[in-house]
């Protein structure tokens, strides 16, 4: 316990890469550089509240919500299957699920581009079946698909870890008291796995709402989500003040949603992974 100095490098790291950037973000958000020098202003925040930017923000949140719901709908049954002793005995299933995660995020997203794109695999199959080609790439669906594909493990793993730790005899006790599988699921397994579900939702929603790579690659150049907007302000336009303001608003939204989740989580004390 005495050897707290072991943590100093970590503290230095945290300060340089987290605390300092956050202050810079605050600084840029609330200042404007004029001829008289630097002064406090709320003009950037006001600009974020213009309808055109609010629409982008709303759309990002909506897509992230859809992605989170789809991840939950797919991820929960997957976690149930992975946590089930009978299935998990053959490791193939778990491997099938984990192996794609070893491949770089960008490469996986590019792979989807070639699957969905013109003359891509799906197009070829449609053509072969003499069906009319469909526009898949550069749509909302493609972006959601890309997000779900990339963020699904963040939903599955926390739920899986809670389910795997669950005392099997509790489930047996419920069966013993007359509950069939559906009732056990509804009354025992799902309520007890809520901490994992909440972790999963947080861990999917946060990267989904801020993504800019997936939306740029699968949504096309014109496709703007809040992440793209921020990236644009910093890299293309060079308006660091406005970029910071958008980031600031987004950070506040994420903090509030995390706070709500935490409150929920505390009501079900449990073994979520964080």
């Amino acid at each position: 316990m005495k050897k707290t100095w072991y943590a100093y490098p970590y503290l230095v790291w945290m300060t340089i890469f987290i605390v300092v950037p956050l202050f810079l973000l605050l600084f840029y958000t609330f200042t404007a550089t004029t001829e008289e020098g630097i002064r406090f202003t709320l003009q950037h925040i006001k600009r974020v509240c213009e309808p055109i930017y609010l629409m982008v923000l709303l759309r990002s949140i909506l897509l992230a919500l859809i992605c989170t719901v789809v991840c939950l709908l797919i991820g929960y049954p997957v976690a149930l299957i992975l946590a089930n002793k009978e299935y998990s005995q053959n490791k193939v299933l778990a491997l099938l699920f984990v192996i794609p995660m070893w491949i770089n995020f960008l490469v996986r997203t590019y792979a989807w581009m070639s699957l969905l794109g013109k003359n891509g695999l799906i197009d070829m199959v449609m053509d072969f079946l003499r069906l009319p080609p469909v526009q898949l790439l550069y749509t909302d669906h493609a972006v959601v698909l890309g997000m779900v594909y990339n963020f699904l493990p963040f939903m599955v793993l926390p739920i899986y870890s809670v389910l795997a730790k669950m005392d099997k005899s509790i489930i047996e006790a419920a069966e013993d008291l007359g509950a069939d599988y559906i009732t056990v699921l509804k009354r025992i397994i799902i309520p007890l796995s809520l901490p994992g579900v909440i972790s999963g939702i947080t861990m999917v929603f946060m990267p989904a709402v801020t993504t800019f790579i997936i939306s740029r690659l699968l949504g096309g150049g014109q496709y703007i989500l809040i992440g793209n907007l921020i990236e644009q302000q910093f890299i293309v336009v060079g308006d660091w003040n406005f970029g910071s303001a958008i980031s600031f608003v987004l950070t506040v939204i994420i903090l509030i949603s995390m706070g709500i989740m935490r409150k929920y989580d505390r009501e079900y004390e449990g073994g979520a992974i964080w």
Binding site: D167, I170, A173, E175, L177, A179, Y268
Partner: protein
């Protein structure tokens, strides 16, 4: 048999990954009896219970409940309830919700559920605990809730899997008495799993001694204690001196270098046997009076009696006596004919 047994296991076998957990078990459980499955860990007693509860399917054989084959019936359709070793209470529900779980599934109305929960809480001496969270209860209280949760469904048979294993000695003793009281009062069949022979002797109407997936002996506590069928049962139920011997003829056995009169017959001439003598059945007498004599090697005070190890004829005899002989003193040992139990040698050692 006049009365149809409530549960009947017929030729039940079960393997886990190639090891035989149960070998061809046949067992009848009568209505309203307190039956205990007793044996060391790994003997198959819990597996037997789980097969009755429906958590495991036997690889072969059948389970009958009131004459009907229930071998493939899932647990939630069986008229039995289980009290688990580690209680397995639902952590996200309070005491009343835990107990009401089974009743809610049966879709009883709210008034009835409340009344039954209150009744069963009174039965297990936990009146007024309805709203408590299960985490806030002590081990003994959690165990009572688990028992109440099972009993409230009015099962025909209550299965208990080492329910007192996690409690301290004093609490265990009082829970033993309480369980027995509940069983007598409600008149339901208890199937009780334990490795504690004293617990089994105290509570049971019938004891089933198991070892390595087979039944060694079935009988009343008195029968099992006084007439153990083989050396394993004798050794497991209470402490015993087990000495190799040879049956010279009916009512005469040779062991420890002497011939002893005994009351067993029906063995072949010169058959190799195990001779079992309870430590409290060996009497200490002055040198020269008993058949054997030896030297006291150690003395341990056990509360009610002293446990002495006496070396005689190359054998260490365990003796329980309320009188103490000092270490190193020479004494005589007397064994009466009806205290000598002759067992057939176990086929495999």
């Amino acid at each position: 048999m006049v009365e149809e047994p409530i549960i009947r296991l017929v030729n039940v076998s079960k393997n886990y990954d190639g090891t035989e957990a149960l070998k061809d078990i046949n067992l009848c459980i009568r209505k309203n009896e307190f039956l205990t499955l007793l044996g060391p860990s790994g003997c198959g007693k819990t597996t037997t219970l789980r097969i009755i509860a429906g958590f495991e399917r036997p690889d072969s054989g059948a389970v009958f409940f009131e004459g009907k084959d229930i071998t493939n019936l899932p647990p939630y359709k069986r008229k039995v309830n289980t009290v688990f070793q580690r209680y397995a209470l639902f952590p996200h529900m309070n005491v009343a919700e835990n107990i009401a779980f089974g009743l809610k599934i049966k879709k009883l109305d709210k008034k009835t559920i409340e009344r039954k929960v209150a009744e069963v809480l009174e039965l297990v001496n936990l009146k007024g605990f309805e709203k408590r969270s299960v985490d806030s209860l002590s081990g003994g209280q959690q165990q009572r809730v688990a028992i109440a949760r099972a009993l409230v469904n009015e099962p025909e048979v209550l299965l208990l899997d080492e329910p007192l294993g996690a409690l301290d000695l004093k609490l265990r003793k009082s829970m033993q008495i309480e369980l027995k009281r509940i069983q007598k009062m409600l008149g339901i069949t208890f199937v009780y799993v334990t490795h504690d022979q004293e617990e089994a002797l105290t509570m049971s109407d019938t004891i089933v001694v198991m070892k390595d997936g087979t039944i060694q002996q079935i009988g009343t506590p008195e029968m099992i204690y006084n007439e153990p069928k083989n050396a394993f049962v004798a050794d497991f139920i209470g402490e015993s001196n087990i000495i190799p011997g040879r049956m010279l003829k009916d009512n005469l056995v040779y062991f420890a270098g002497h011939e002893f009169e005994c009351v067993d017959s029906g063995f072949e001439r010169n058959e190799e046997v195990d001779v079992v003598i309870r430590p409290e059945d060996i009497k200490l007498v002055p040198v020269g009076e008993g058949m054997l004599q030896g030297e006291v090697e150690s003395v341990t005070f056990k509360g009610v009696h002293y446990e002495m190890i006496v070396r005689s004829e190359g054998i260490n005899w365990m003796i329980h006596s309320t009188l103490m002989e000092p270490v190193g003193s020479r004494i005589g040992l007397r064994i009466l004919p009806h205290d000598i139990h002759i067992m057939k040698k176990a086929a495999v050692k």
